[in-house]
Symmetry: C3
Subunit: 176 residues, 3 copies
Amino acid sequence: MVVNTDRFALDCITRLRLIETGSQAPLNRKVRSKMKISARNIFRGQIESVKTGAVNSEVDLLLSGGEKLVAMVTNESVQSLGLAAGKEVVALVKASSVLVMTDDSGIRLSARNCLAGTVKTVTAGPVSAEITITLAGGAEVHATITHNAETELGLKEGSAATAVFKASAVILGVPA
Amino acid sequence: MVVNTDRFALDCITRLRLIETGSQAPLNRKVRSKMKISARNIFRGQIESVKTGAVNSEVDLLLSGGEKLVAMVTNESVQSLGLAAGKEVVALVKASSVLVMTDDSGIRLSARNCLAGTVKTVTAGPVSAEITITLAGGAEVHATITHNAETELGLKEGSAATAVFKASAVILGVPA
Amino acid sequence: MVVNTDRFALDCITRLRLIETGSQAPLNRKVRSKMKISARNIFRGQIESVKTGAVNSEVDLLLSGGEKLVAMVTNESVQSLGLAAGKEVVALVKASSVLVMTDDSGIRLSARNCLAGTVKTVTAGPVSAEITITLAGGAEVHATITHNAETELGLKEGSAATAVFKASAVILGVPA
């Protein structure tokens, strides 16, 4: 599948700090300086399908780097944003919504989004810690966890780690 | 629409720290000292409508300051709390559920709650930062974001900023 | 009701750091050293019922310590994990999803999960604070709140406190 991001890029890339996925080039300073929202995780992708319920809809995305992502939004948002298969969107996830798993052997989770990678950086404070995980395609995912959890997991640069978050943690955005 | 908050106030204001909205007077120390829950954001409002699905319901609120708010709760809660149009409620939102957006030009989000205002204070730690945004009517909204996001957004006193959170981040409360 | 956790324990306990509930023995260092995920709250329980909607399902749990817990997950997860009444699961809750309430008199909340206990420890940083609450049965619940909220609530060792979180904040896990 080819994601035509050119026009969307013109509309959107310069307005938001994007976590580049897959084959995307790293962000330059110019783009970063134009970011407008505090969400640490902003993924670009295309809608594969929308499953509509009575009040909520599940939206399945294919990220430009090849990963799958699932979002749960209200039907009202599906309508007002015109969300439908084929539409290009950005998916925003707050770092505080992301768990870090260092070994998934033996357990399966209901969380629909699991992105595997390698710990790039650990920034620890007295209570919180911010973990940056680099995915296989080069994208980065940020998670804030407690300092205690970070210590107990023994997270350090180069550790294998998976970022986990629920579909309900994802906010979708489209060009106005 | 006139929201009669007098009786609800007697029931509720002295028990919870309220973020005053619109025409409300600032909280005095006496009220603040009686707050009972850690949610940094507590809004007072009246239910406009309840849209019920199979397991979840969307509840639309009109805040006493005139803002609209949307909450997603389980049908069980709608029944046990007697949520229905006209009922007065408080809406609680944890600061960690709130994103901060400094410019919404060019992007529309699925997040149902967006409250525009001005940055009042920025408290930064090594990993986290707490941002307080004053809305037009005088109400305050608190957000915890990463220190990195706060730095990259260049948030400072007086900056225009919008607090963004999903309907699923809202907890509703009613007098017992 | 008797929860047969023996086999599940073999499958799962050694893989995850479990918050022991009710009659469970405290975790030893060996088990703690094998934890694999950053979620500070991991409860063990058995599914009592699954209520399925159009896209989401509500899952009611009975924890091994006797507490009730409610989770909201997608139907897709219910199917892929084989969630059904009687099945043993773990429930994961990020500390940042948990509110702390020090007095619930006079207010009823839509949040489906409220666990009452006593503050064991308060770890405060410049922006955040981690609160550990010991439940009646000996289990521990962790919450990260703002330092400001912690100060205003006057939380300290021995204070009565209730951990509050939404059903949508719960992730379920099963042995692979």
